[in-house]
């Protein structure tokens, strides 16, 4: 079953004299449990594609289907609610809420979803344990390293029990050790809980461990390959 389906997806910026295609006729199918890297040079359209799939940006033409929902038909408020319940986001620069602790950041999404307290507490503890931060639950983001903050971001993204997680350059600001650590966690979640990950990257360390690699150039898919990873 496809979690994400895009059909002839395009995004055109036609503010200048010549229209610029950030995304150009992308047809894509991502199934549940895939661990997919979207790669390509800067300006190839990786982030724009992720933004459209995540409902943060509108396509100029074509459509995006998440599960059975065509998201271009949703109103702005419906889209926010859809994102809350179906998509987990991990951003390049962590983007945690600075005034909340690791525990509160992870709990945040579930509070927006009105999840009962007992369930929240249980899930927060289990998620932070999974990302190896059970002993840093009460620390605020400024008291955590970059790698630790990104692990909290992964825990937060998982907290809403999304259909998939979109990660935009999740390792761009991390050192090698933190990158390896984060990838271990993401792969473990993918393997053990069948969590679908789609991330943009041009980090070779990430590309080496992805199971499917989609390469973009000038907004077009130029290759879509599967690789076997131990």
């Amino acid at each position: 079953m496809n979690v994400i389906t895009t059909s002839n997806l395009s995004k055109v910026y036609d503010e200048g004299p010549v229209p610029v295609y950030a995304v150009n006729g992308v047809d894509l199918e991502i199934k549940k449990g895939e661990f997919t890297a979207i790669v390509g040079p800067s300006g190839s359209g990786k982030t724009t594609l992720l933004n459209i799939i995540g409902g943060l940006d509108k396509a100029s033409s074509g459509g995006v289907k998440i599960g059975s929902t065509e998201i271009e038909n949703l109103s702005a408020n419906e889209l926010i609610d859809f994102r809350l319940r179906n998509i987990g986001f991990v951003f390049q620069s962590y983007n945690l809420i600075p005034v909340l602790t690791a525990k509160e950041n992870t709990e945040f999404i579930m509070l927006l979803q009105n999840t009962p307290k007992a369930e929240r507490d249980k899930r927060v503890e289990s998620l932070l344990a999974e990302v190896g931060l059970e002993d840093r639950m009460n620390n605020r983001p400024t008291e955590l390293s970059g790698g630790q903050q990104q692990r909290v971001a992964v825990a937060r993204a998982l907290a809403s029990k999304p259909q998939f997680i979109l990660a935009d350059e999740p390792t761009a600001n991390l050192d090698s050790k933190s990158t390896a650590n984060l990838l271990d966690i993401m792969l473990k979640l993918n393997k053990e809980e069948d969590t679908t990950f789609v991330f943009s990257t041009h980090d070779q360390r990430v590309i080496d461990r992805a199971r499917r690699i989609i390469t973009l150039e000038d907004g077009k898919i130029i290759s879509d390959e599967k690789q076997h990873v131990q």
Binding site: N51, I80, R83, R85, R156
Partner: protein, 404 residues
Amino acid sequence: MKLLIKIAWRNIWRNKVRSFVVITAIALGLWAGVFVTAFVQGMMTAKIQSIIEVEVAHLQYHQKEFRDDLKVNLTIPSSAEKLNELEQDERVTAAAGRLVSMAMIGSANKSGSIRVVGINPSKEALVSSLSTQLVDGAYFEGIKRNPVLISERLAEKYKIKVRSKLVLTLQDRDGEITAGAFRVVGLYKTDNNMYDNFNVFVREQDMRKLIKVEEDYHEIAAMLTHQDLAETVASDFQKKYENLEILPWLDLAAGMRIMNEVIGLYLYIIVGIVLLALLFSIVNTMLMAVLERVKELGMLMSIGMNKTRIFGMIMIETIFMCMLGAPLGLLISWGMITYFGEHGINLSGASYEDVGFASTIFPYLENQSYIEVTGMVLIMALLAAIYPALKALRLNPATAIRKI
């Protein structure tokens, strides 16, 4: 809601200096609004009190046209009956008759025009505070023949003092010029220099001899149980005595009714200006708070925080700052009003007395006004937060998330 409250509360302490600026602006705005209101109310209360207690009492009877040129023969018919009738009315606490005439005052050095008021000293003491305004001499005691009470200012102007002689020249009811020698029994001083420069007081029986008015009065003044009754009581008696002019204090003191109405409007304008300054201060600071957090707001929208919650979070932040600033402003205002309400603010250099206001202002504010001004400040603060909150809602999450 609990979540929004938690985030909003912590957000206001992220930038302590900025929050301190907003909290201080709210406190100062509230203080300025409340204190200006209290100052003007104190000034007006003193003015009204002075007008009622010193100048006109709560209401007065006159013959129609008497007040235009103070003609000696325009006395109130059956004055004694009318006085008695007033004293019987349960809304009236005291009433007294007066003779009033224009006159020339002459001392050894100088002469000039004044108004002579003939009074029954003991009855007058019940309708005016003249007897308590003395700065020298006594209230019609110690001089048996033709005592006169003049103001301290008049005494300085005519270079006379207690027990000095002066001559009052008046017109009697036949139109003949008549004069009498009087001796200064005491000096009074009120908050109104114009009043002090213009009024001298003699005993009723001494004046009657001079102007040949054997009975009746030119003016009957009455004090009521409460100043708010003045219009009703005056209107009731006016209906009964259509040939007389019976007016409440608001119409007796020149310009008082207009001043009383306009001062409230001016007060709202002044408080409005203060609040407008406050509004721009809060808009500016909250806008900074929003623009500083564009990326974070973009992230919140991306992960599913809806617009109502974003709007609510910004508004709650402003409410929190109001809840800190408003009590602070109220506390400072209350402290200053209590202190200056007791000790007064001395503005004797500002010539307030020349225009009929007390030179020492005792700020005063009714509880109702505290609530009104606080309400206005809170509403203003919330209005000020709407624009920055709407600005936050207009952010595009995809663009906002990439802001550095």
